[in-house]
């Protein structure tokens, strides 16, 4: 590949950002819709197959439509789709209220911080090992250039991820404070304490694959997990057989902390309705609330992507380094591809919904107890285990 000019790399990066943003804007509604459906099935709810209103007029027509869709083979999946559309319309058209005594600047700034932090992190996630496509030569500026599956493959990728993700907490704290109302303030503080606490075991568990492989880079990590030898600046590294043990434990610690970081069930204390109305976004309406919502789901996508890249196969079929038992010459399951990454992400996102449908919420002291007295020591012990594996293997 010849070196790109500055203009070409600039335009390529812009295009990648647009594609990534579109991906998130498509993926988030899909996850929300899937959430309703999955929880409906798990908890045997009829919910989300009908909307408010009777059997007359517009709502009646939609209710009848959904009932009819449920009888058809493919369209039964889409049952509930009209009310999902209605949710979206409501979000966009709702009156945008700013409380009179709110701090105007901070109130508007807070949702933006959340979203910007989430999208910035997605910019360093490597979605695909190979370029997704090559632009045909007829395209004006970027003709003939590859369209890579990662915007910025930085060599301190993991640190960048943890750092920028920790900036996202400002959105929640400031949103709670700027509303100038008691419940949002309490919700914001709670959430910030939760996120700051769970960042510690989260980072420890993420250090396990880093200690094992000696790289912070997403692409190299994926190669390492496939069992292939990699060449890091700290020396060559290849995955020993015992490495599966710390990786396996670390994955579950990471997933637990990931649930807490994204404020999801069973750690969704910031929005504990029975105690706090709706937590930090009580006073937010319309699209500003929508941005918080978008940031939460974008953070879920990030957790899923990081878990896939650093613990599961990355771009490969089998997790935790089991990929080595499949020779690369085997078609489809032997190689690295964008599809496997998406599949792993989808599985973890499904586990989010699965957990939400089955587990009750922790009490606040229980949450802190689990975080500080169990997860932090456990993740430290696991890190020591990883260091021993690295040292002796």
């Amino acid at each position: 590949m010849t070196a790109m000019t500055l203009t070409q790399s600039f335009v390529t990066a812009l295009l990648q950002i647009v594609v990534l943003a579109l991906f998130v804007f498509v993926a988030v509604p899909v996850i929300v819709f899937a959430e309703r459906k999955v929880i409906g099935y798990v908890q045997l709810r009829l919910g989300y197959t009908r909307i408010a209103g009777g059997l007359h007029g517009v709502t009646g027509g939609l209710n009848r439509l959904m009932w009819w869709m449920g009888k058809l083979p493919f369209f039964s999946i889409l049952r509930g789709f009209p009310s999902f559309i209605a949710d979206g319309i409501k979000l966009f058209t709702k009156e945008d209220i700013v409380p009179e005594k709110a701090d105007w600047w901070v109130f508007h700034f807070a949702p933006a911080i959340s979203v910007v932090a989430a999208f910035t992190v997605l910019g360093i996630v490597s979605f695909s090992p190979a370029p997704l496509w090559t632009w045909p030569a007829a395209v004006p500026i970027v003709g003939g250039l590859p369209f890579a599956g990662v915007i910025s493959d930085v060599n301190v990728g993991l640190l960048m991820l943890v750092g920028v993700a920790s900036v996202g907490v400002y959105g929640i704290v400031l949103g709670g404070w700027a509303s100038n109302s008691k419940y949002p303030l309490l919700g914001g503080l709670r959430s910030a304490a939760q996120i700051v606490s769970y960042e510690v075991p989260l980072t420890f568990s993420l250090l396990v694959p880093v200690v094992l492989s000696g790289t912070l880079n997403f692409t190299q990590m994926s190669q390492y997990l496939s069992g292939a030898p990699i060449q890091t600046s700290a020396g060559p590294a290849q995955m020993p057989a015992l490495a599966i043990l710390p990786l396996f434990i670390g994955f579950f610690i990471y997933l637990t902390c990931g649930f807490a970081e994204t404020n999801r069930v069973p750690f969704d204390l910031p929005e504990a309705e029975t105690e706090l109305v709706a937590g930090f976004h009580t006073e937010y309406t319309g699209m500003k609330f929508g941005l918080f919502y978008l940031a939460e789901y974008a953070n879920m996508i990030i957790v899923a992507a990081v878990a896939a890249a650093f613990f599961l196969g990355g771009h490969h079929f089998l997790p935790f380094g089991l990929q080595r038992f499949i020779p690369p010459s085997v078609p489809v399951v032997g190689g690295a591809s964008f599809g496997w990454f998406l599949l792993w992400m989808a599985l973890i996102l499904f586990s989010y919904l699965w957990v939400r449908a089955t587990l009750p919420r922790y009490r606040y002291d229980q949450l802190m107890h689990v975080g500080w007295k169990w997860l932090i020591p456990l993740s430290l012990a696991n890190l020591c285990l990883a260091a021993l594996v690295r040292y002796f293997a």
Partner: protein, 184 residues
């Protein structure tokens, strides 16, 4: 297009530096304490941008991780929980200090320029700013400075590094002890 981008690329340090200075000024002069903390956050992020533009990726990202993600959050907690309104009604806490602060800042600038004039204006002094090459044997420092920094910290200067962390721990324990005494 190409020239404009190259110009911006050459001057990233200047852009981020000006942003940091602007945010710092806003931090000092804003009326609300939370706005001050926000400006401080912005200044910290701009300084991280400065480090990144100097190809010190590790330091830049550590700046975001430690300052923007950790320390400023604590600042924000304190500012949000401590009522500062009574100072506001009394005409501002900073008003008395302003003339003295300006004098102190100007004095500090003069001293800084006097001490570092050789480093800044002498073209031969550029070498002093480069990381010690013997620390980074076999490493491409510009692209792998996470490894270079870790070699410095955990191999070359292990003892000073550990002593420093003990000093920080002592400060933390002392802070807790003082706070406990006041409550009793």
């Amino acid at each position: 297009m190409e020239n404009a981008l190259a110009f911006i690329g050459r001057n990233f340090f200047l852009i981020f530096g000006l942003m940091a200075v602007g945010a710092a000024v806003a931090m000092v002069f804003s009326k609300s304490a939370v706005h001050s903390v926000l400006s401080f956050l912005f200044a910290m992020l701009s300084i991280a941008g400065c480090y990144l533009s100097l190809q010190a990726e590790f330091v830049g990202v550590a700046q975001i991780l430690v300052y923007a993600g950790g320390i400023v959050v604590l600042f924000l907690f304190v500012v949000m929980l401590v009522e500062l309104t009574r100072f506001k009604e009394a005409g501002g806490i900073f008003h008395v200090q302003t003339p003295w602060a300006v004098v102190a800042v100007l004095g500090a600038c003069a001293v800084f320029i006097y001490v570092f004039r050789g480093l800044i204006f002498d073209p031969a002094s550029k070498d002093a700013l480069v990381l010690k090459p013997e620390l980074a044997q076999g490493l491409d420092v510009a692209s792998q400075n996470a490894q270079a920094v870790s070699r410095g910290l955990f191999a070359e200067y292990l003892l000073p590094f550990e002593i420093l962390s003990v000093i920080l721990l002592v400060a933390l324990v002392a802070a807790v002890a003082i706070a406990k005494q006041e409550r009793a």
